[in-house]
């Protein structure tokens, strides 16, 4: 039971971290795109 | 005090004309009781054991049905603007809404309660009065927290879905205290319900105060 509990907690945090980093990457890409798009306009 | 009664009066007039809120609450409450009766009929459990839970499931879900209507009605017809322009504080507006919601719920519950007694083969004695008293206190708590939450949920995209999600976790103390007090009265054991009644009253007081203070944030544009 011990190792299962610790593994589960680790999995929870890894999934959350993974979701966060993919979200961050996506948002930063979008931010760059928007900035480029707006730079062309006066 | 006068604007407060005006709000209650307005809601009562609307309800007298449409009869939507009370009739839907009433029908839903009775349906829950009937479903519970069929579901537990074969289990052979003592009526007084499952009774309190049954009653409060019916009450709390019926209350959500009524609360959903009360503020959504104002927002759909843009009546909230008019209410906000009326010469009264936001807190008083909240208290008026709580009073009218409470009144409708109590009317519906006092019709559901005898049905509950009949379906469960209980005799109308002191227990009926005791349970009626508990339902007044519990309903006050539910309407205090439910009125402000229905104001919040009326602003969202899925009003009907959002209110139960917001309300059920917050009304857990009311349900626990009310079910426990009801079951002690139903079982005729030496009732030690003062602690539970204190929790019910305390919950209502805390939520009436906090909501009175923060209601202006919930309605302002």
């Amino acid at each position: 039971m011990n190792n299962r509990a610790f593994t589960l907690v680790a999995i929870v945090f890894f999934i959350h971290n993974w979701v966060m980093s993919s979200r961050q990457a996506r948002l930063e890409k979008k931010l760059e795109e928007l900035k480029n798009q707006l730079k062309d306009r006066p | 005090m006068k604007p407060l009664t005006a709000i209650v009066f307005k809601d009562i007039v609307i309800e007298m004309r449409s009869k939507e809120s009370i009739s839907s609450m009433l029908m839903f409450g009775i349906l829950v009781l009937v479903i519970f009766m069929f579901a537990f009929e074969s289990s052979g459990l003592e009526k007084t054991v499952i009774g309190p839970g049954e009653l409060w499931v019916a009450f709390s879900f019926a209350a959500i049905l009524g609360l959903n209507r009360s503020l959504a009605m104002e927002i759909d017809n843009d009546c909230l603007q008019g209410l906000l322009l009326a010469p009264l504080g936001r807190g008083e507006l909240y208290l008026g809404k709580v009073a009218s919601n409470f009144a409708f719920m109590i009317i519906a519950e006092f019709i559901v309660l005898p049905v509950f007694f009949i379906l469960n083969n209980l005799s109308f004695d002191q227990r009926f009065i005791g349970i009626a008293g508990i339902s007044i206190l519990g309903t006050l708590g539910i309407s205090a927290v439910g009125t402000i939450l229905s104001t919040i949920s009326a602003n969202t995209r899925m009003k009907e879905v959002m209110l139960p999600i917001l309300q059920i976790p917050l009304s857990v103390p009311v349900i626990i205290a009310a079910v426990e007090a009801t079951s002690q009265i139903l079982n005729n054991e030496k009732p030690e319900i003062s602690a539970w009644l204190t929790i019910l009253a305390g919950f209502s007081i805390v939520y009436l105060t906090v909501s009175y203070l923060v209601f202006e944030f919930a309605v302002e544009e």
Partner: protein, 225 residues
């Protein structure tokens, strides 16, 4: 930068914490090895679930007083931390309760409070996603968060009363404070979990900022078209 420092610090403290939990701390007499779950369960509950509750309360109150959107971001991030940490903590509780109590979940005061707390955090989150307008979302979520966190002490009181009037079906866990080695281990895992919490929180906060910026720029781009 702050995020990287916190990440490194939490890894640095997590390794000795795990070492102390599994190898250094003495095995408890009655519960055996299962008691070791306790070292990670307690910090997760205290820092994760209750700490997030206090932070959510501060965030909502701060927003309603100052009307500064940074408090709303603070509240949103602490609610998300609440969901993750409370869920993780409930998992450890279940894994511990199965061999010791024989059930996954016993209706005791703290466990029930944690479940209600988790439901309130999730409700807060759903409310956020159903409100499209930024200002309105901050205001209404502030009100709901405040109401939800006022609920927590009343809830605890009622559940506590509920349990003490009935006989307790379970032995209360603990006895961790007796052995000094156990106390040291608990302290170490407290530090590790707090740093982990700080890291995840700060990281989530930066993402929330970027998200807001993207929203704003999208609106600007749409307005220009």
């Amino acid at each position: 930068m702050k995020v990287k420092i916190l990440a490194i610090l939490s890894v640095i403290t997590m390794i000795p914490a795990l070492y102390m939990i599994f190898l250094f701390a003495p095995t408890e007499a009655t519960q055996g090895n299962a008691q070791r779950i306790f070292y990670i369960h307690v910090p997760l509950a205290v820092v994760g679930a209750y700490g997030s509750a206090i932070m959510l309360f501060i965030g909502c109150l701060g927003f309603l007083i100052t009307r500064d959107l940074k408090w709303d971001r603070f509240a949103a991030c602490s609610a998300e931390m609440g969901v993750v940490f409370t869920a993780a903590q409930l998992l450890t509780a279940m894994m511990w309760a199965k061999p010791i109590w024989g059930t996954w979940y016993a209706f005791d005061s703290r466990g029930t409070l944690q479940i209600v707390l988790l439901l309130i955090y999730i409700a807060y989150f759903m409310l956020r996603s159903y409100l499209p307008d930024r200002e309105k979302r901050a205001k209404l979520c502030g009100v709901f968060g405040l109401l939800g966190m006022v609920d927590v002490p009343i809830n605890y009181l009622s559940i506590y009363l509920f349990r003490t009037q009935h006989p307790q079906p379970v032995i209360s866990p603990g006895g961790g404070g007796v052995d000094p080695d156990m106390a040291k281990t608990l302290l170490m895992s407290f530090i590790a979990i707090t740093l982990l919490y700080a890291y995840v929180f700060v990281r989530r906060l930066t993402i929330a900022k970027v998200e807001e910026e993207v929203d704003y720029l999208t609106q600007v781009a749409l307005a220009n078209e």
